[in-house]
Amino acid sequence: MLSAEFRYVASAVLAAWALHVVARGTPVDAAMPFVGVVIVFLAWRCCALIEIGVPLLVIAAIALPDEHTRLLAFGAIVAGAFVAAVPRTFLDATGVMLAAVLVLRWIPFSNVEIVRELIVLVGAFAVLLARPPLMIGAVAVALVTPTHPGKALLYPFIVAAIVFVARNVPVALGLAVAFLAAAHFARAEHAPLWIAAAIAVAMPLLPRLTYVPAIALFMLWPWSGLIARALPSFFRAAPPPTQTIGAALAASQSIDVAVPPGVRRVVLVASGANVARLKEDRVIGSVNGRPIRIGDVADFGFMRREQFFAARNPLPRLPVADIRGYGQAAFLYGAGRLVLPPAESLHISAAGDLPPNARLQVESVGFE
């Protein structure tokens, strides 16, 4: 008779091979063998039923040609596996938590800075240790922890200390409310840190139904960078218009765009380049006399993992559904939509006081 350990090792190898063979394309597909091993690990430690996730992943990899649909299916299946993974011991809880953090932060592998990520893992473990066995807080904290600058790696340890201290209900509740208030007033780049801290502190007080948003967000692990840095704007994002302009305007430069007759409204998509340090409401250009501000648009790449923490831009009010990258490296392109009244033409100009290397990027325009 085969031991359970050997049986699961064999299953892990088979799962990795099967997913390696069928999942091709994106970095998330490339990481699917690892995800298969994670699923088998969850099945071993928590519930044998979870292993059904492996053939489901294989079928999704084969059956769904559209990239986003396939990755979302991967997300849903893996989220389902984690939902079913109810740990029985602290050791199991630690394993599940580590697996979740690995899935959320270590894909794509090419972007992983091993030492810093190991520190994040230790930090997440500290949060779990501070309030075992509730792991959602630890995972949330790990998800949003920036690896740049290096001092930001202290964040999970600080949260762990707070969680450890705030053990009684009034204190935990008070701190959670305070953190949420801080998130409201903090700049967009720091808000996720406050919110994750609030979740970690308040976790024992929350009813189980509040796990639903956590599960829903976990389904987005193939774009975990979005969960960490682009919420809640991501849900407001709409597809960009199809008529590309593609002009980058330096200070005082302008272009004119003809508007066809009979148009009810015009949707202009614009972004900034090298404007990540500019604050909210700073005017970077105008269209037909209407100012284009930071807040309407943002630096196109400010939500990148490396730049986000140091940036000053808020998320665009009407963002564009343009997702770049995968896993923890995924980010929402910083373009915003401006809805304009009909006119004969659009005169778009960059502000005269733009910094020398900054640009107003006119991406595309749509007529409705």
């Binding site: 049986r7 064999a10 299953s11 892990a12 088979l14 799962a15 091979w17 099967a18 997913l19 063979v21 069928v22 298969g36 088998v40 044998a48 039923l49 292993e51 059904i52 996730g53 492996v54 053939p55 489901l56 992943l57 294989v58 079928i59 084969i62 040609p65 559209d66 986003h68 649909t69 979302l72 849903a76 189980r208 139904l209 796990y211 639903v212 948003p213 599960i215 829903a216 389904m219 987005l220 991501f234 849900f235 407001r236 994002a237 709409a238 597809p239 559904a321 997702i323």
Partner: protein
């Protein structure tokens, strides 16, 4: 399917089947599931994910009920009885009818049963001539109906070859609510079947826990769900058969007598089951003798008046038996392994005959004569109908065998079977028209993969409609399985994943045989032979007719191949850069062709016309 009826049925089913802590936990999970579905819908827009709404809703509904039945199967706080199961089944069948079946036209024999029902209700006769004349006002919503092969078309009237008893049963429902009422009546029979099956399980000593786990897979899994929500005599017949078996086991002559009478009236072919069952219970008392005589006389009269002929009772040649047996077991389009995998356990139970409950042995032995006549028929797969039509009648008995084994089976095979079953249900409810598949040797799975990857996956899916190597291999695997199966613990989900991956990898390679009518061939002009909806299509040799200027592209292996064709006038074709003359021939004949390199090649018709059947690599 709208959300309100779905939510209402979910809640009502939960209230009927759960209580206490389990009910509250289910409620939490249910709310969570709806919120998650909403979140997914919210996420789909920014991600640019487009999923067919009908498919998404059906998939959610199936997942939702799967969650409920997981609670019913594994929770302690349940309210369980055959009656409760039947009520829940009725609600869900009605939901399936309203949400999934009604939006699509009825097909196969269904519109003809409905025409008879219409005739009974409106004209009080069985003459369908006026129904065919006035199809625009028919509840069938089918304007293309004509009398079928075997119907009696006479100056005095047009009479269907189908037995009118089902139509008679549907008449009250039809009179009240038309097609929906007829379908609701079918749902009622489905619920009765569920009740009887659960009672049969209880009678035969199957534990409640096992019955609760199997109930959703039987009642809402293929093939029963697809026949309980459509107009076929199979589900009422299955109910009659189960009641007959129960009646015999309980020595209640009136019960089995009535049930057998119903069985025979529904479909004459079920008389073969009735005969064996009568022989099994034969003990010469006056009451039994009278019942048996009545049934036998009825059978004889009905047979004489039916479209069936005496020669049909002659046994077929052995090879045809092999095809039928292998087909019903492993065929991708019409076999148990692919279309209702739960019943594989029932087949395994057959191999453990002595250890099985008496009801199972009685039921299956009663099916023997029926099966002996079914196996060699060219239409063993059921023709133009949802899969497994001819064996729906004893699915509950096979389920009893599966139930007797259930507790011994490891979690791995159960999980894989459950997941596959859920997939089949979602597919069948979201696309009911795909339940009908032309008998060309492909299956819905092979069709879809072939069209998607332009590679011949169908060759890896067993078929005995167009016999292939996979059918032989599948047949051997099943035989080995029947002998060696103990618990199935080595068949883990990871092993299933590897099999799927291997299937995918091998399927993308060129095969030895190209069937030109298959979906993996890219057809640039030409037409299918015979036409797609040719009645009894399985009797023809399929192919693709090409004329001058038509072309096909397909994956092929390098080297010499043999092309099989038929051409009245002859044709000239080009494969890659070489041309070949196809001499005229009224019979099928072959020519040798060369494929210069493995990969996608083009076959072009330069002149004439030919029906190209297949190309075999040598």
């Amino acid at each position: 399917m709208t959300f309100l009826p779905l939510a209402a049925v979910s809640v009502a089913a939960a209230l009927l089947l759960l209580r206490g802590r389990a009910l509250w936990r289910w409620a939490g999970c249910e709310i969570g599931a709806w919120l998650l579905f909403g979140a997914l819908a919210l996420t789909a827009r920014p991600l640019g994910v487009t999923v067919e709404p009908h498919l998404a809703v059906i998939a959610f509904a199936v997942a939702n009920f799967a969650m409920l039945f997981a609670f019913v199967a594994f929770a302690d706080d349940v309210r369980w009885s055959a009656n409760r199961a039947a009520v829940v089944a009725l609600m869900i069948y009605l939901l399936a009818i309203v949400g999934a079946m009604l939006p699509f036209p009825i097909d196969g024999d269904e519109p003809f049963y409905l025409l008879i029902t219409e005739s009974i209700v409106k004209d009080h006769d069985l003459d369908l001539a006026n129904q065919y004349r006035d199809l625009a006002h028919s509840a069938t919503h089918r304007l293309d109906l004509v009398p079928q092969y075997g119907d009696r078309v006479r100056p005095r009237g047009t009479y269907s070859r189908l037995e009118p008893f089902l139509a008679l049963l549907l008449a009250p429902g039809f009179a009240i609510a038309g097609l929906a009422g007829a379908l609701a009546t079918m749902a009622l029979f489905g619920a009765l079947l569920v009740r009887s099956t659960i009672r049969l399980f209880e009678d035969e000593g199957i534990s409640d826990a096992t019955a609760r786990q199997l109930f959703p897979l039987i009642a809402f899994g293929p093939p029963i769900v697809f026949y309980a929500a459509r107009i076929w005599p199979e589900v009422p017949a299955a109910w009659c058969f189960v009641e007959a078996v129960r009646g015999v086991r309980q020595r209640r002559a009136v019960r089995w007598g009535t049930a057998l009478l119903g069985l025979v009236l529904l479909k004459l072919r079920f008389g073969l089951i009735a005969i064996v069952l009568l022989l099994r219970v034969w003990k010469p008392t006056l009451k039994r003798a009278l019942i048996a005589a009545a049934i036998l006389i009825l059978l004889a009269v009905a047979f004489a008046l039916s479209a069936h002929k005496a020669w049909e009772l002659r046994p077929g040649p052995p090879y045809f038996y092999l095809l039928g047996i292998a087909g019903l077991t492993v065929d991708g389009a019409a076999g148990i392994a692919f279309q209702a995998p739960l019943y594989l356990f029932g087949l395994i139970a057959l191999a453990r005959w002595r250890a099985m409950p008496s009801g199972f042995r009685l039921g299956m032995s009663a099916s023997a004569l029926y099966l002996i006549y079914l196996f060699p028929r060219t239409e063993w797969h059921g023709g133009w109908s949802p899969p497994l039509r001819y064996i729906v009648v004893f699915c509950p008995i096979l389920a009893l065998g599966a139930a007797a084994l259930w507790e011994r089976i490891d979690a791995g095979p159960k999980l894989v079977v459950t997941a596959w079953t859920l997939g089949l249900v979602v597919h069948g409810l979201a696309f009911p028209f795909r339940l009908f598949h032309i008998a060309n040797g492909e299956s819905p799975l092979g069709d879809w993969l072939g069209a998607r990857f332009h590679s011949d996956f169908s060759r890896l899916i067993p078929s005995t409609i167009r016999p292939n190597l996979a059918a032989l291999a599948g047949g051997i695997v099943v035989v080995v399985l029947l002998i060696v199966f103990r618990t199935g613990r080595t068949f883990t989900p990871a092993v299933a994943a590897v099999l799927v991956a291997l299937f995918f990898v091998e399927g993308r390679r060129p095969g030895d045989r190209i069937q030109f009518e298959d979906t993996h061939v890219t057809h640039l002009g030409g037409e299918m032979y015979p036409r797609e909806y040719q009645p009894q299509r399985f009797l023809f040799t399929g192919g693709w007719i090409v004329r001058q200027g038509d072309a096909m592209k397909f994956l092929a292996r390098a080297g010499r191949s043999r092309l099989r064709y038929q051409s009245a006038r002859g044709a000239t074709i080009a494969i890659a850069s070489r041309t070949y003359a196809l001499p005229p021939s009224m019979e099928y004949r072959t020519i040798d062709v060369d494929v210069p390199a493995a990969g996608c090649i083009e076959l072009r018709c330069l002149d004439g016309a030919a029906n190209l059947e297949r190309m075999d690599h040598e």
